[in-house]
Amino acid sequence: MAEVSLRHIEKVYPNTEKKKKGEKKSNLKVTEEGVLAVQDFNLDIKDREFVVLVGPSGCGKSTTLRMVAGLEEITRGELYIDGKLMNDAAPKDRDIAMVFQSYALYPHMTVRGNMEYPLKLKKMPKEEMNQRVEQAAEILGITQYLDRKPKALSGGQRQRVAIGRAIVREPKVLLMDEPLSNLDAKLRNQMRAEIIKLRERIDTTFIYVTHDQTEAMTLGDRIVIMKDGVIQQVGTPQEVFDHPANLFVAGFIGVPQMNFYDAELIRDGSGSYTVQVENVHIVPSEEKQARLRQNGVESQSITLGVRPEHITLLGEGENMLHGAVEVTEMMGSAVHLHVNFGGRDTIIIAQTMSLEGRNPVHFGGGNPISFTFGGNVIHMFSKKDERNLEA
């Protein structure tokens, strides 16, 4: 267990093709020096904290993790593990362990051999080595597979072995690079729960990389959301869900994703704000009004965000938005309605069960529908720079 500090970390890959300065490829910034895969990454990870780096493919999350591991050179900035500068330390000298997406087990060794390997390199006495391997195998439920080769194991079992190999060393920091990506949906959910349990049982700092926001939300003490090599927001799962820093985070976190509408934010003479969508006026909650006032936000065109679960379906009435159901997705406990509203797809979650019993939810394709949302659940984003106007 250890604290990990990343200070102004940057990763530049030298240009391999002739590109002009300022030209963009995959939205990553390109300078004369090369492609900026990670830009000015600052993060202090506390002892025993579980931090999840999340973002779409190519956002620099794995590169950041590999820089912590020592598998990628750090172009600029400083990396501290347990207070020691580690920029130039070899991976083996960092006291870290890593679980790879591809498991990266040694195919010629048995499960026991795989788990013993790091301990053998440490020249650990045989007895202690056996004890540690058996203890880790027991935690992960792979004791019966210790004498098998990796090829004789299923994907989930292999991933357990990979985790086992990492934890037997009792590393200061455990790095996980999309460890569940190769597993099917059911096994992924199961392994996610296993990782949560594991976390309670071992004393170490976790840095976990994933592109799956559900994994990030369920596992992390804090989530670091990245895009194009830049940190978009750092916060607890609840914070990033409730107060997304910008349009990207709002769209990335939450399933189904947040609905966005073009709207007008109007500030009247008394300093009160109203949001106008189509002909409907929504008054933000007092809390939101206060934040907007504090930030000195003026009247402007905005992107309004509302999460599908915060939309209320109502019958005909005033101050309602009207659309037509295009597609319905039955999820069992709820129905996801894809509604065409103003030419855009709006997703609404309609619960099929309530305390009173089964809700009569019958929506066919093309049915007209009216919905609304409260002023306390809306998110307002600047059209200019996409940041949250409340932030």
Binding site: A69, G70, L71, A90, P91, K92, I96, A97, M98, F100, Q101, S102, A104, L105, Y106, P107, H108, Y117, P118, L121, K122, R165, R169
Partner: protein, 280 residues
């Protein structure tokens, strides 16, 4: 459709059977003649099977082994083959590992150089090579592996690189994080992974080095050191007389070890050649 495929396969089997007979027949002929008495081996009788009168048993084999320093030639050939193959396996696998994992202009150029070396015929370099080997005192069986390493590197590096590219780099990175130095990663992880390719490279190179005639003839001091291939031409008496029986027996003895090596390792050759061609 299936019936048509089956018919085509059957036709191919027949064609390939005749091709294999064509390949096997010279060996069979040598074997047949090695068991005949000297007088029964002539141009007109070379294709005949031994009869009760012409069958010589293992007499020719005894003569071959006892005469002309067969055992020392066998030892030199084995020594040169083993040392050269070991050197090729060790240096080329390590080199291929490096140039596959560290991609720079230099390593790419080195790879192309190795691939290019495969198309340079030996005859083009043999005179400069033999004079250079003379200057550097490489003209003994003890150090001939240096020259074979140079000539065998092209194919070996090419094959090792092909396989290394199919091995996920994650495995080596995992080993480095587990605490290995690059050398430990090479010996503990890379070599075991390369084993199928190593076996195929070893067999292919061993077949070539064991049977090679021209290179040792040009480099070695012919009066002191003779490999088996060189020895065979010494089964000639005066006035151009050739001891055909012992010569045939010697050829059979010379090819026997390499046939055994091939048969033992043939499944690895197929594995090694196919490895890297498909994602798996």
């Amino acid at each position: 459709m299936k019936e048509k495929t089956r018919r085509i396969n059957r036709l191919w089997s027949v064609v390939m059977f005749f091709v294999s007979v064509l390949y096997m027949y010279p060996i069979f002929m040598v074997l047949m003649n090695s068991l005949k008495v000297e007088s029964a081996i002539s141009t007109s009788t070379a294709f005949e099977l031994p009869t009760a009168e012409t069958f010589a048993g293992f007499a020719n084999y005894e003569n071959a082994i006892n005469a002309q320093g067969f055992l020392s030639s066998f030892f030199y050939t084995a020594f040169i083959t083993i040392t050269s193959v070991l050197a090729i396996l060790f240096f080329c696998s390590m080199f291929a590992w490096y140039i596959t994992r560290v991609e720079t202009k230099v390593t790419k150029a080195l790879y192309l150089l190795c691939a290019f070396s495969m198309v340079v015929p030996f005859q083009m370099v043999m005179f400069t090579l033999s004079s250079m080997a003379d200057t550097l005192n490489l003209d003994t069986p003890w150090v001939l592996w240096v020259i074979y390493l140079g000539f065998g590197a092209g194919l070996a590096v090419f094959m090792f690189c092909g396989f290394m590219r199919s091995v996920p780099v994650d495995i080596e990175e995992a080993s480095m994080i587990d605490g290995s130095s690059p050398l430990q990663t090479y010996f503990h992880i890379v070599i075991p992974l390369l084993r199928p390719t190593m076996v195929s490279v070893a067999i292919l190179e061993a077949m070539w080095i064991w049977n090679d005639y021209l290179l040792p003839t040009l480099i070695l001091d012919i009066n002191k050191y003779r490999t088996i291939s060189m020895l065979i031409q010494f089964f000639r008496g005066s006035y151009g007389r050739v001891e055909m029986g012992p010569m045939m027996a010697c050829i059979m003895l010379a090819i026997l070890p390499i046939i055994i090596v091939y048969l033992v390792g043939q499944k690895h050759i197929i594995k090694g050649v196919v490895a890297g061609a498909v994602k798996g």
